[in-house]
């Protein structure tokens, strides 16, 4: 392995990497450029402007923040995402612990059934869910949306956490049990603190599921303009007859950048976090 790489091979490698990076980053970079361009156009008159910033103004951001209901959207989205994360963790950790540590009738088949249930086409359960929520009066209500999100991410989070609990050695809990520790204490005092990394990753995924989801949100909270989540609001904006592209781009940047930063910061855990549980069989 210690042979020196030939210069030609090295050059090809670097060129490939640069091309791939361009492919990966350009769409996001493009939105960033467009958001700083005054006037409602994504197109620039000079070609250079599509690739590097030739002009920059914060006009679009100002309009988005102060003249559009954008802050309402962000608040709604944030509320939904945070509540989804918290409720999901509360519910899923205990279930995952039970599936990992306790023996009861239907444990194995229950797990398989959970996975298989997930393959039901989500688009088609929209109507029953909307009907159910409107019957109990939570239609067009953020709490209804949160309930639907929690249920939607529950299976994935339970599986992921169960996989991690399986990797924690049971000896600690056995020792505690001899000292008279019951399942509830064992869960709160031993398993939860040990599962902290998996909980962090699961929380990240639950948050992102709530932050970026569009279809459910558009069906369950279609109107009014101040009650929708950021995704629905921006999507509506981009489907008007004359699209205010500059505003759209500014809004998109303000939604993507925080996610991007968190994601890139946590990226070294991603690989570990995903293979921690689940797929080890």
């Amino acid at each position: 392995m210690n042979r020196k790489t030939k210069p030609t091979v090295r050059i090809i490698q670097v060129i490939l990497a640069i091309l791939a990076t361009f492919f990966a980053v350009y769409p996001v970079w493009f939105v960033l450029l467009a958001s700083g361009r005054a006037g409602q156009r994504l197109l620039t008159l000079n070609l250079l402007g599509t690739f590097i910033p030739t002009e920059w103004s914060f006009e679009n951001y100002q309009v988005m923040l102060f003249q559009q209901p954008f802050l309402d959207w962000i608040r709604n989205s944030f509320f939904v995402a945070i509540m989804t994360t918290i409720s999901c963790l509360l519910i899923a950790t205990s279930a995952a612990f039970a599936f990992s540590r306790m023996r009861f009738y239907g444990r194995e088949s229950g797990l398989v059934l959970f996975l298989a249930i997930q393959s039901f086409p989500g688009v088609l359960s929209l109507v029953p869910i909307a009907q159910l929520l409107s019957a109990i009066g939570l239609y067009k209500n953020l709490w209804g949306l949160i309930m639907a999100y929690v249920a939607g991410t529950l299976i994935f989070t339970t599986m992921n956490l169960k996989g991690y609990f399986d990797t924690i050695p049971i000896d600690l809990e056995e020792a505690a049990m001899i000292d008279g520790c019951g399942p509830v204490q064992s869960f709160f005092l031993i398993a939860l603190p040990l599962a902290r990394p998996a909980i962090a990753i699961t929380a990240l995924f639950a948050f992102m599921a709530g932050w970026g989801e569009y279809v459910l949100a558009s069906v369950l909270i279609p109107a009014p303009d101040t009650a929708v989540t950021a995704m629905v609001g921006l999507y509506k904006m981009a489907n008007q007859l004359s699209v205010p592209w500059g505003y759209f781009a500014a809004g998109a940047v303000m939604i993507i950048i925080p996610i991007l930063i968190v994601f890139l910061y946590l990226q070294r855990y991603l690989e570990g976090g995903l293979t921690l549980g689940g797929v080890k069989g």
Partner: protein
């Protein structure tokens, strides 16, 4: 294994998994049951409202429950009722699939895959033998060649055409299968090449590339928005045409061309999904001990030999679950396609558009024409297919895990 004894064990278990069960029961199992029931009724835009006095309707329809009865919709038109015969929606969907010419066409298509299946079986049989009569790669190549020959002999395009004419269901399902078959290999190839590239230890700027190449994954959490950007690239006054314009080429309205529109949704999906593959493969690559490669080098193996005989077989365990998972999510792809093409370009009224994948089709049928009954049947058929695929894949990944 810890076993808390005592008569309250079941209560404890219930307390732990109760909330999860309740959530899944309400938001996953109830919609499935509801859809199953609706699939046997004629609920559509002309009969949207329930008749609560019918037994099962009263049970399944939330607005019929006595607690919520005051909010029940009071509409004009007769309420929906059970179909006569009860499976009429299924007949409607599957059309004349069960007639001789269509079944024959389906059988012909199946025949083309027979050589491949036989080849794989033979390979499995000789798996661990050194002096095999024929190498596994050669076996597969021959099988594929015979398959192609059969495609030519049996006039498969015509057979496909026969099946396509027997209903929308087959058109959208076939198209979705083509979509998955186009996407997954691309995910794998792009993910593998970039992982191999990032695994070069002395690549200049390796950390930078590693971070930059993962950006689409982060962006995929707001997929619907980035899809609008992808749409913009290919618009009439979009970026691609602008770049072409400065070179003096007049571009076209890319998304109006069925083939190009299809390729665009494949490309956008590759953009979203390759980082997942890349990260998984990179992780697996780094867990392969370098001694194996050193041993191979001593034996004089070149790069390609090392790749095909060491790297790829050792990646299998990590990659197969990812492939299965992505296949199922790609099959159910909705948001991206909806935002980029909306199912279009149209191929005439009453027929699904050129990029109308199963979920887009279902969404349109439910929300634009209110065909609840028919789509209930559609959902159920899809569910059975995907359910079987999931169970099979669980078996598959368990086998590979044991083989590792």
């Amino acid at each position: 294994m810890v076993q808390w004894s005592g008569r309250r064990t079941y209560l404890t278990v219930l307390a732990f998994i109760g909330p999860t069960l309740l959530g899944i029961l309400i938001f996953n199992i109830y919609p499935i049951l509801f859809n199953t029931y609706i699939s046997f009724t004629n609920r559509n835009q002309f009969h949207p409202n329930p008749d609560c006095s019918v037994g099962l309707t009263g049970i399944f329809e939330p607005t019929c429950w006595s607690v919520f009865k005051k909010s029940a919709p009071q509409g004009l038109g007769t309420p929906f009722r059970l179909q006569n015969p009860i499976y009429a929606n299924y007949v409607d969907l599957l059309g004349d699939f069960f007639t001789a010419p269509v079944l024959l066409a389906a059988f012909k298509i199946f025949l083309c895959f027979v050589p491949l299946i036989i080849g794989v079986q033979i390979n499995r049989r000789y798996k661990n033998q050194f002096d095999r009569p024929i190498s596994s790669g050669m076996m597969i190549t021959i099988a594929i060649l015979i398959g192609f020959l059969l495609i030519y002999i049996l006039k498969i395009p015509e057979a496909l055409d026969t099946i396509m004419k027997s209903g929308d269901f087959f058109v959208v399902t076939f198209r979705t299968i083509v979509y998955v078959a186009a996407c997954i290999p691309l995910f794998f190839i792009v993910g593998l090449s970039l992982a191999l590239l990032l695994n070069v230890p002395d690549l200049p700027g390796r950390t930078f590339f590693r971070v930059a190449l993962i950006v689409p994954w982060a962006a995929s959490t707001v997929a619907i928005m980035m899809s609008l950007v992808w749409k913009f690239f290919f618009q009439e006054k979009g970026t691609i045409n602008q770049v072409l314009g400065t070179m003096g080429i007049k571009g076209q309205v890319w998304l109006n061309d069925p083939t190009i529109a299809f390729l665009v949704i494949v490309l956008a999906n590759v953009w979203y999904s390759y980082p997942f593959f890349m990260v998984t493969i990179l992780g697996a690559l780094q867990s392969i001990p370098s001694e194996i490669y050193e041993a191979a080098e001593v034996d004089g193996a070149n790069y390609l030999q090392k790749l095909s005989n060491i790297t790829l077989p050792l990646l299998r365990v990590a990659v197969i679950p990812v492939i299965v998972l992505s296949s199922i999510t790609t099959f159910q792809m909705f948001g991206t396609v909806w935002a980029i093409t909306g199912g279009g370009p149209s191929r005439g009224a009453g027929t699904p558009g050129a990029t109308e994948l199963v979920m887009v089709y279902a969404y349109k049928q439910v929300f634009q024409t209110a065909a609840y009954g028919r789509m209930g049947a559609f959902a159920l058929i899809m569910f059975v297919l995907l359910f079987a695929a999931t169970l099979y894949s669980l078996r598959l990944s368990r086998i590979t895990a044991r083989g590792a």
